[in-house]
Each structure stands twice: as C-alpha cells, then as structure tokens.
C-alpha cells in the first residue's frame, strides 16, 4: 500500500515537474531583497516584472511559452548571494540570471555559481572596475558603466562645484574600493587635493571616530562612497550632528530615498550625488516611464529601474534568438541581440522582436537606459547623471556622457 502510494506520488511529481518545465521558462532575478540595498529593490523588481509582462503579452518566449522570473535574495553581500544563486541554478534550473545588484554580490555569485555552471549572468547595476577583468568565459555582463567611469565623472563634477579639497570615506568592499580609488586618482590628476582617504566597515553603529579624524584634515566636503542603508546615512547623520561636515558628495549607493527620509531634505541642500543614468529623455524612455508609473503607481524615477528592465529584456531576447533554453546557446546569442548591426528594437517592442527573429533578421536592442553595446569584457559605455535633493526626492540636473 505504502509503496503504491509512494510510486503514485513520485509519478505525480514527475508529471507536474515535467509540465511546469514545458510551459514556463525560468529566469533568475538575484536581488538584495534584504540587507543594505533593500530600499532600492521594490522599483527595480518592478522594472524586471514589466519586462516579464511585456514578453508574455507580446507572444511569450520561443513557441509561446511563459517567461517566469524567480526572485532570490542575495542580501547584497557575497556569501548569501552565492547561496541564492546556487538555488536559482541548481534547484530552480533557471536559463539565465538577471543580477545581482551590488558588485560584491555579483562577483561572488559569478565566480562561485554562474561561471562554473555555464549560466549567463547580466547585472543591471554592478559597477566595480574589478568586474571588467573577471575571467568569465564570456558568461558575465553588466549594463551600467564601470566605476572607472563614474569615478572620473565624479572627480570632474566635484571640481566644477568648486571643491578643491575633499576628504573621502569609502566602504570596504568591491564597490567602495573600486570607485574610491578611481575617484582619488582622477581628482588629484585634475588638481584637487585629497586631505584624507579612509575606508570603513559596513554595518557599524558609530563612525564618529573616523569622522573626527576626517574632519580635522581641513576638507571642504566629504565624499561618501557607501550604501545609504548600510553605513552612508549614519555617516551623514553623525557628521551633521557633530558639525564635522555640512556638504556631502555621494555616488549611486548613497542616492537612496532613505537618506532623505532619515536626514531631512534641508540638511542635504548643499550636497550632490552622481549615479548611472539614462540618455537624455527621448520618446522611448518617456513612453516607458509613463507605462511604468501607470502599472505600478509611480516610481519610474527611482535608480536602476531602466537598467533592470533592459537586463531582463536582453536575457529574453537572447533566449528567443538562441531558439532554445540551452544555457550556452543563450549566452552565445546575447551579443548578437544587444550589439549593432541589426534592426533596432526598443523597449516594449517584444512582438516586433519576435517576428524579426523568426524571420531570421539580426536585431539590435536599444534599451531605456542606453544602447547597450557590449565590448569584449561584457562592459558598456554609459551615462552618468548628477543629482541634487529637491523636495523629498532627487532631481537630475546634468548628464555626463
């Protein structure tokens, strides 16, 4: 009796699993749902979901199968990210991974899971310079410019604001070390003086000791390269409380609404931020943002929404181009759908892309956040925006190309 029951259950499981596999094509979304990036996630995830919805509405993947995003929590740090990526690849059996967000989590997941298992990984946000030279057998891509670029732009922006002497504090991980060093080199090359260059550990309660030392170095402003919810907001808050600094310059990690919520907009009036951005508004991006706000009730101006949509879209296009869910074939197809030449396909044009691919035409996806032409390292050139605080959110005042 027991044996029969067991066999029946097993059979049911196999049938169920089999049918699920035939209907849905799973794509992993490795997101820092908890941890220091938690506040960024809801709109970013919505970006990815909109891409998923566009694909499914426009005819689905391959022969009309449903694309299914499977979310796993990387906690925006290395070890949990490896665990989450392992779950996506080995248990959920995803075709490709969109993510992770922070550079440390992305590199760890790539090295431990994506590269050894031969799974395509496209990060919408990882910016560390060290990703450029990752030995990835061409499996790892990102669609934001490297911090080599953001660091250089930041240096120019800081000097344009008239800050000749700054102190720098950066978080001790791939992100902080990468952008901190490129900023320092470029800033000094352009004639700026770095009075103190100090790294700090994430997740501590007090940074007053470090800040006192930084303040005594006589800088005009403090460059904070950290995640707002990890250490950034505490650093800004404790600096203001003790009168160490009044002017702050932050990167994309600090440009988080949580900073304004916790500090208040007034105290941030003389600060500014840089962040990877999208090309200056064109019809396609405006239409996309309007559609996003309509679907989710706002949030299209939040960081990395565009990139999450594009990364998910690129993976879907690569699967369609590959004509199968074979992981290697999907990886090999990515460049041909992302890079020129080819017929240009924009956001929301899934049905058109499907037709072109089935007609055997070469396509070139030009996304919301840029054209996404991958170079040999899987990097893209891009745009960096400069932001100030206005009201209770951030406003882009300039785009560097």
């Amino acid at each position: 009796m027991n044996k029969t029951l067991l066999m029946l259950t097993t059979a049911a499981c196999i049938t169920f699993a089999g049918s699920a596999w035939a209907e849905d094509i799973k794509v992993g979304a490795l997101m820092g749902v908890t941890g220091p990036l938690a506040n960024f996630i809801p709109p970013i995830l919505n970006g990815a979901k909109l891409a998923e919805a566009d694909v499914n509405k426009g005819g689905g993947l391959l022969d009309g199968q449903t694309m299914k995003l499977v979310v796993a929590d990387s906690q925006a740090s290395a070890q949990p990210s490896v665990d989450a990526a392992g779950k996506l690849v080995n248990i959920e059996n995803v075709v490709a991974i969109m993510g992770a967000l922070s550079s440390g989590a992305t590199i760890a997941a790539a090295n431990a899971v994506a590269i050894p298992n031969g799974v395509l990984q496209v990060s919408p946000t990882a910016t560390a310079p060290s990703m450029t030279n990752l030995e990835d057998n061409d499996y790892v891509y990102r669609i934001v410019p490297s911090d080599n670029y953001q660091g250089k732009v930041l240096a120019r922006a800081v000097l344009e604001e008239g800050f000749k002497k700054v102190a720098i504090t950066y978080v001790n991980n791939d992100y902080g070390v990468g952008i901190g060093n490129t900023f320092k080199v470029e800033y000094e090359k352009l004639g700026g003086v770095v009075t103190k260059f100090s790294k700090h550990e994430d997740k501590k309660n007090s940074y007053r000791g470090e800040l006192a030392t930084l303040a005594s170095s006589g800088a005009d402003a403090l460059v904070v390269i950290a995640y707002a919810a990890g250490s950034g907001a505490k650093i800004v808050k404790q600096s203001l409380e003790n009168g160490f600094f009044e002017k702050f310059i932050g990167t994309d990690g600090l440009r988080d609404d949580i900073l304004i919520q916790q500090i208040g907009a007034e105290a941030l009036a003389s600060s500014f931020f840089t962040s990877p951005s999208s090309p200056s508004s064109n019809e396609a991006t405006e239409a996309f943002h309007a559609r996003f706000d309509e679907t989710f009730g706002g949030g299209s101006d939040k960081p990395f929404v565009d990139q999450a949509y594009d990364a998910t879209m690129l993976i879907a296009l690569a699967i369609q181009q590959a004509g199968s869910t074979d992981r290697t074939a999907v990886k090999n197809a990515l460049r041909s759908v992302a890079n020129a030449p080819g017929e240009i396909v924009g956001p929301g044009e899934w049905a058109k892309a499907r037709e072109l691919i089935s007609a055997g035409k070469d396509i070139n996806y030009e996304g919301v956040s840029g054209a996404h032409e991958f170079d040999a390292n899987g990097d893209v050139a891009g745009y960096i925006g400069k932001y100030i605080v206005e009201g209770d959110s951030y406003k882009q005042t300039k785009i560097f190309n």
Binding site: A38, H200, E201, R208, A233, Q262
Partner: protein, 295 residues
C-alpha cells in the same frame, strides 16, 4: 584629548551598553539552559520593531515604547521556548543550538513579512548633541542609553542577589542536578530566564534603533560581539556579561584612536577587535573575567 572622549569613548560606552543588554540574555541562557542561543540577536530585532509599531500607532516617543517592547518580546521568547526548545531539552544541546539557528531565520523572515525590509528610524532628522563645559559633547540619546543600562545593571544585581527567583537562577546555573534535587521548580526558572533575557534584548534592540536605524538584520549583525561579551564575562554570570559587553564596545571604538596623528589600527578592522579579545581570553582565561563555567 576631548576628541577622544567625545568621539571614541562615549560612542564606545553606548555601543558597549547595547552589547551588554544582549549579552546578559545569552549568558543566562547559556548558564541555565546550557546552549548557545543564536536567535538572541533576532529577539533584539523583534523588540525594536514592536517599539516601532508603538511609535507609529500610539505616537509614543521610542523610550516610552520600551515597556511594550519588553512585554511583547518576553512573550515571544517564552513562546519560542515552549514551541521549539522545550521538546528538545532532553537531547544533547547541539540539537537545541541548531534549532535556535532555525528560529533565528523564522523570526527574521516573520519580521520581514510583517514590517517589510526597508530600514526605518524612530525619529526623522538629526539632533545636535548637548555641550557641557564648552567642549564635552554628548548626544541626549547616548546619555539616556547609558543611564538606562546602568540602572538595569544595578536592578539585575539586586534581583540576582536577594530575590528568591534570582537566587534560584544562580543555583541552577551553578549545578542544575543539585538544584533539582533540592526541590527548585526548574520550569519556572527557565520561564524567568526567557522573560529577563528576552526583555533585556528588546531594550537593547530599541537602543540600537534610537542610536542609528532599525532594519531586519539589526540583531543578527550584533550577535558575534555579544557572544564574545558573554564569554568574556564568564558563562552564566549576567553581570560579567554586561562588563564584557562594555569592554568589547569600548575596545572596538577606541582602538582606532590616532596617537600622535597616526592611525595605528585602521577603522575597517574594528570588528576584528571583539574576536581578538575573545581568542586571547579563551587561550589565557577560559573561565572568563568573573569565573564563569569553562566551556
């Protein structure tokens, strides 16, 4: 010199107070129930979020929400014991330790479900510290945290030395067999251990939220230094754990003080200090400062 006090010593004592409040529970549970309770950090998180709810719904200031957080978290702790740890009590303690890992994950996920994953604050904005004698700067909330912790330490000392329950707890920690033979109600003592441990963890959690911000990994991030503090003070010695917490908190902060403008230890190595102290202690004085049980 005044910089040393303002920016290193006082934040150190504040941090130490928070460690102390968490370490008391860890040390008592270790002493009386004989297992390392890895869900203790998440009890702190629970307390911080219960207080946050009281701040939101009743409009209380965070300090006034402490009693609600204490009661709520103590109830959660007693429930966790009944549901998860009591059935395992007769098995080797490794089962309970692993179970407490599971409980930690359950608590954290439940908090994420109920309150979301965004980081929150009790009060928006920032406060200038109070300035004494033109140079000594102390944030009001740091004075509150330190004063409360001192009051708790004194109360705890009198409770353990003079009340019947307190004396029974010490007896069980010293020799559970003998205590049972002498007719002490072990279950009642276990219950009180969870009430006190959970309640103090909640206060610690609220203090973290008051000092910085509230997020779902708040307690988990503090767990290792709190264990170091419990070991430093001597296992089963609640006041030793408080002393240990204070030492580790202060050591983490002041170790980065630059002497003659030279930073001897980079601030990015702060976390390592707790572990260096713990390792040195296990090597040279395994019974802890106040002669606790040797592991």
């Amino acid at each position: 010199m005044i910089d040393f006090i303002n920016y290193y010593l006082i934040p150190g004592i504040t941090l130490g107070s928070i460690y102390a409040l968490g370490a008391v529970g860890i040390s008592m549970i270790f002493g009386i129930l004989r297992f390392a309770h890895f869900a203790h950090g998440d009890l702190m998180t629970t307390g911080a979020y219960i207080a946050l709810t009281a701040v939101w719904t009743l409009g209380l200031p965070a300090l006034a929400a402490i009693p609600i957080a204490v009661v709520g978290t103590a109830l959660v702790a007693v429930f966790l014991d009944k549901a998860f740890y009591k059935p395992l009590r007769d098995l080797p303690s490794i089962y309970t330790v692993i179970a407490s890992f599971g409980v930690a994950l359950i608590l954290r996920s439940a908090i994420q479900l109920l309150w979301g994953t965004d980081s929150q604050v009790y009060v928006v904005g920032f406060q200038k510290p109070l300035i004494f004698f033109d140079s000594l700067r102390i944030a009001l909330r740091h004075m509150q945290i330190i004063a409360f912790t001192v009051a708790i330490a004194i109360t705890l000392h009198f409770f353990l030395s003079y009340s019947k329950t307190g004396k029974s707890m010490r007896a069980v920690a010293d020799d559970p067999e003998l205590a049972r033979i002498a007719g002490l109600d072990t279950e009642k003592i276990v219950r009180w251990t969870w009430i006190i441990g959970g309640g103090l963890a909640a206060i610690g959690g609220v203090f973290v939220g008051l000092d910085t911000d509230i997020h779902t990994n708040l307690g988990w991030n503090l767990l290792l230094p709190m264990f170091a503090a419990a070991l430093l003070g001597g296992i089963g010695r609640p006041l030793g754990a408080m002393l240990g917490g204070l030492i580790i908190g202060v050591a983490e902060e002041i170790c980065t003080f630059p002497i003659m403008d030279i930073e001897i230890i980079s601030p990015s190595y702060k976390s390592a200090i707790a572990f260096i102290i713990m390792l040195a202690l296990l090597l040279f004085r395994p019974q802890g400062l106040l002669k606790g049980r040797v592991l």
